[in-house]
Structures are given as C-alpha cells and as structure tokens.
C-alpha cells in the first residue's frame, strides 16, 4: 500500500495536515518561534545597513545587493526547515535515549517516518516570508529584470538549495549512529552556513573553498544570487552535481548508520 511513492505522498499530505494541526495547538510556540526569528533578521539587516552608511560598497556589493543575497539564503533554508527539523532530534537524543527504534518498526521508509514527525516546523514559515520580502524589495530597488530562463530557474534553485541544506544536516545528524549524539557538530555546521548569507568575496580563499566545495552552502545562496544579479553562470553550472553528490554522501552515511544501529537499554 504505502510501498509506492504515491502511498508515501498521500501519507505525507496527511501528516502535513497533522503538522499544521499541531501548529494551531501550540500557537504560542509558533508565535514565539516566528517572532524571535523576525527580530534576528531585523537586527541582521540593520547591522548590514550600519556598515553601508560608512561605505558605499563592500567587495563590489551594494546594500540592496547584500540584502538580495541574504534573502536568497533564507528561501532554501526556510524550505528545508519546514521538512527536516526532526534531524536535530536525531542528533540530540533519539539515538542516545534509545527512541530511534520506532522508525524501524513501521512499514514506512525510516527517513520519511523520522522527518514526517515534524513536518511544517513554524520557524520555516518565518524564514520563507522574510526571504521573499528581502528578495522582492532588493530586486525592485536594483531594478532587476530577469530573463525568462532566470525566472524559470528560480524554483529549481531554491529546491536544490534546500536539498543541499537537508543533505548536510542528514550527514551530520547520521554521525550520531556512531557517536550517540552529534549536536555540537550540527551546531557548528549551522553556524558555518550563516557565512553563506553574505558575499563570499569578503572571505579568505580558504573559507571560500570550504563553503563552496566542502560544506557547499555557497550553492544555496551566493551562487544563485550571483546568477540572478549578474547572470554569471560559473558556479551555478555545478549546482546539479553538487546537489546530487551531497545527497548521495548523506544518504549512504544514513544507510550505513541504520544497519549498525544499536538500540540502547532494555
């Protein structure tokens, strides 16, 4: 029944509904989550604004361009956030407390089973909304006039970016099959990902390399933004390959983790 992709999809819709239902049940949590996020992005925007009152451009980037990039980085992050937040629980406690077993005794793909437990995490909506506002405002400010191809690629760019975020998270969360918890690694990687919200040209080449080819967050923000702003396709051509390889690495580690899983306790 649910062995088919269609079955999983129907189940996803149902569980998505449950997730939304949960949102209304924990309204305060939702408001706090979104509110805190808005404050954070507001401060970020303000800080960037303060810098630009002193200089007209940084490494060739103007104020609206930087905000455009920031917006670009938030869209895939928000999309990813809506679906994969449960990976944090995996890295934090599911292995440690021996609770992970429950995903293995249901006739559903274990990864789907895990993620579906927290579909539509409220923070994701905030990131998507703010990202959209920033991109639209900055785009209008810059008088951006995308070509038909650029318009057509907007959605794939966001989806690939979200997949890269998801893959990196899955990779580091899967380490907990070996190390029991991998929360610190997850936190570090998330902090590194924040760097990708600003122009890569600001950074030392080694950090630029890291963000492009090791933890490929550049492909979730910088590469799409540069493409949409200037039409430069140097990096963006690698996006499909990078997305594919990231997913491959994450899923193989996840699968190896599953087969060595040891449920603790009685």
């Amino acid at each position: 029944m649910n062995r088919t992709p269609g079955g999983h999809l129907r189940l996803a819709f149902f569980l998505g509904g449950v997730g939304l239902h949960r949102l209304t049940a924990y309204r305060l949590d939702f408001l706090l989550g979104s509110g805190a996020f808005l404050v954070r992005v507001g401060l970020q925007t303000l800080a960037v604004g303060v810098v630009f009152t002193h200089v007209p451009a940084i490494a060739g980037w103007s104020y609206p361009q930087v905000l455009f990039l920031l917006g670009c980085s938030l869209l895939p992050r928000g999309l990813d956030h809506l679906f994969t937040d449960q990976l944090w629980e995996l890295s934090r406690k599911l292995i440690q407390r021996g609770e992970f077993y429950r995903y293995l005794i249901r006739p559903v793909n274990p990864l789907f089973s895990l993620l579906s437990e927290r579909f539509f995490h409220p923070d994701g909506f905030g990131e998507l909304a703010v990202g959209a506002v920033l991109v639209l405002w900055a785009g209008a400010e810059l008088g951006l006039d995308p070509t038909a191809l650029q318009w057509a690629l907007v959605l794939p760019l966001i989806v690939c970016g979200a997949l890269i975020h998801a893959a990196v998270k899955l990779f580091f969360a899967s380490l907990s099959f070996w190390t029991v918890t991998s929360m610190p690694a997850m936190q570090t990687v998330t902090q590194v990902s924040e760097f990708a919200g600003y122009p890569l040209d600001l950074y030392h080449p080694s950090l630029r390399m890291l963000l492009t080819w090791v933890l490929p967050f550049a492909f979730t923000s910088y590469a799409p933004a540069v493409y949409l702003l200037h039409g430069s396709t140097g990096l963006i051509r690698w996006l499909p390959v990078v997305t594919g390889l990231s997913l491959l690495a994450a899923l193989s580690l996840w699968r190896r983790g599953l087969s060595r899983y040891e449920m603790t306790g009685s």
């Binding site: 029944m1 149902f14 569980l15 609770e99 005794i105 006739p107 087969s259 449920m263």
Partner: protein
C-alpha cells in the same frame, strides 16, 4: 513462523578509565571490549504459538527481540519471521508484526491517542472494518476513550501502556513481540491485556512472543517457553514440560519438640543421602530432594518415623522455583534461606 539459526550479537564497548586522567587517556587511546549478548541461539516457534521468552536480566532477551523485530542486525547467524529476514526487509517485516517495549514509547509524543491511531491506520492501510472492530474491543477492555485528547507525553505510565498495547495490535499483526508489556498496569488492566492477546491468538491465530518480569503474565498467556541463560537456549518446549523439568521436589514440615534445627537438618541429610534441608523464613524445615532418587512417599515415611510432625505439605514446583534453579545451574532453592 519464527526461526532463529545461530543468532549472535556482539557489542563493542569502549573501556573508560576512571578519573580525569583516565578520561583524558581514553580520548587518545581507546580500548574496546567485545561483549557477546546473544551467543548463537537457535529456535523455532510455530505459527499461532504463545511463547514466553524467559531469562535472567542480561540473558539477551531484549537483544534477541530487537533482532527479530528488525531493529538491530545480528553479528552472525540469522532469523526469519514470516519467512522474511527482518533487518534486511524491515518494511516487509514491519507490516506483519506488532511491537511493545514497555520501557519505551512508539507513539507520537505530542499527539493524542486518537490522532496517533489515525496515523497508524493510514500507515498500515488498516481496512475500516478491522479498525472499527479493534477500536470497539479497546473501548470495552482498555477503556481507551478515557485517554481522551491528552497528548501522549502527558499520560501516566499506565495510560500510555494501554495505548501502546492497543497500537501494537491495531493492524491485526501476524506476530506480536511484547517486551515487558504490563509495566505500570494494575491487576484489572493486566487481566484485560491478557484477555486481549489471548483473544487475538484464538480468533486470528496471532503468534505471541512475550517477556515479562511478572510470572503471572506468563502463566496467563503462554503455552510455550523458551528459556535462555548466558546467551544460550536452555529450554525450548511447553511451559508444562518446563515445570516438570524440576528435578528436585520438596517437602515442608513443622515438628514439635525433639531435636533443634541444626540436629534435624543433619539427621535428614544423613538419613536421605542427596537431599538437602534448611530452615524456611516461616521457621519450618524444608527438605529438597532429587526427584529421581526418592518419591514423596519415601520422604514422608522417613519424616514420620523420625520426627513428631505437626504440619506437613509438598508444594507443587512453581515457575519461580524452576527458573531460579535453571538460572543458577541447579542450586536448590532452600539454600536461599541461608539457614543451613
């Protein structure tokens, strides 16, 4: 239905040295020790059987169940459940089994029980008729409606266990694995849980594998017993045969006047070679004797002849006695009193 062949599971455990220096040195050079939790066990349970999986703490019961349910992969050997290797075909296997780990929850932590059941209904594709029938049964026996719309995380242990039990049977599984399913349940609910599983077994032919510290669960549900000790199977057969395996019987008596306890014990042990005697907690004398050396008539005759008996009885070998004897490699239970 359930087959295990040379099923083995090793765990690699990192040795930690005590103290700050110790933990620093573990950071650099880590030593591992291999612990064999399950040591090449083989057994075969037929479809529709109700088997108690019995063993002392650390005997490898839970580990075996985790392999049978597909949660963990064996280090070597293999097992089959409904003709499927559980850890290789997890989803295939999951469809036809129901699982309860009394110590852990498998329900959706922040959802209510009815919401969880709705999800399970879709996950397993449970037909409406089956779902309604089972729900009616849970209403009648487990008073499941009383759990209301409280999120699972706010339920008491007993309430949660009722939901766990129901969730494990909701999709009419062919096999149920219940590891300590009656934790936190009162007598009435225990009785209901037993009725529930016995009914599933009688009406649907559900195969049951159960572990429980509550021996009355075992007597009320199971016909068969699988006893493991030190990671190996020491008994595979009916519960009845397990009880008959008791190779030592006992007689308990009170006597008036006559010699003191020490002397009595000495006289019995010399008069009935092979028997052991000791003082019970109630201040009676308990005689344990090998079933193949004496009959109870023989022992009673001896006692009547030498002592002035005030009261005397020969208890049935019970599960607890037999298990205690099995776990300890046949040490007679009377020695426990420590009065010898």
């Amino acid at each position: 239905m359930i087959v295990a062949e040379g099923l083995t599971k090793d765990f690699r455990i990192a040795e930690r040295r005590p103290g700050l220096l110790g933990s620093l040195s573990t950071l650099l050079t880590r030593e591992y020790r291999t612990v064999r939790a399950v040591d090449g066990i083989s057994f075969r349970l037929r479809a529709g059987s109700k088997t108690a999986y019995i063993g002392a703490n650390g005997a490898g019961k839970s580990t075996t169940i985790k392999m049978l349910t597909g949660i963990m992969t064996p280090s070597s050997g293999r097992c089959l459940v409904n003709g499927v290797e559980p850890y290789r075909q997890r989803r295939e296997n999951a469809r036809s089994i129901g699982v309860v780990f009394g110590q852990r929850s498998q329900l959706w932590w922040d959802l209510s029980v009815p919401d969880s059941f709705q999800i399970l209904r879709r996950i397993y594709g449970i037909p409406d008729a089956v779902y309604e029938r089972n729900l009616a049964l849970y209403r009648e026996l487990l008073d499941i409606d009383a759990l209301g719309t409280t999120p699972v995380r706010q339920l008491s242990l007993g309430q949660r266990m009722r939901a766990e039990i129901a969730a494990s049977l909701l999709h009419d599984p062919k096999v149920v694995f219940w590891d300590e399913p009656t934790i936190g349940l009162d007598m009435v609910l225990k009785e209901a849980v037993r009725t529930l599983v016995n009914r599933a077994n009688a009406e649907l032919g559900t195969t049951v594998l159960l572990t429980s510290h509550d021996l009355s669960d075992i007597s009320a549900i199971c016909d068969d017993a699988l006893v493991v000790d030190g990671g190996r199977v020491v008994h595979e057969g009916t519960l009845h045969d397990l009880l008959r395996r008791a190779d030592r019987r006992s007689v308990v008596f009170d006597h008036r006047g006559g010699p003191g306890a020490q002397d009595t014990v000495l006289r019995i042990e010399t008069g009935l070679p092979g028997a052991t005697a000791g003082l019970t907690n109630e201040g009676r004398i308990r005689v344990d004797y090998p079933a193949d050396a004496f009959t109870s008539r023989h022992v009673l005759g001896f006692l009547l002849e030498h002592f002035e008996l005030a009261d005397c009885y020969a208890p049935e070998p019970d599960l607890e006695t037999v298990l205690r004897q099995t776990y300890r490699g046949g040490v007679p239970a009377a020695r426990d009193g420590g009065a010898v």
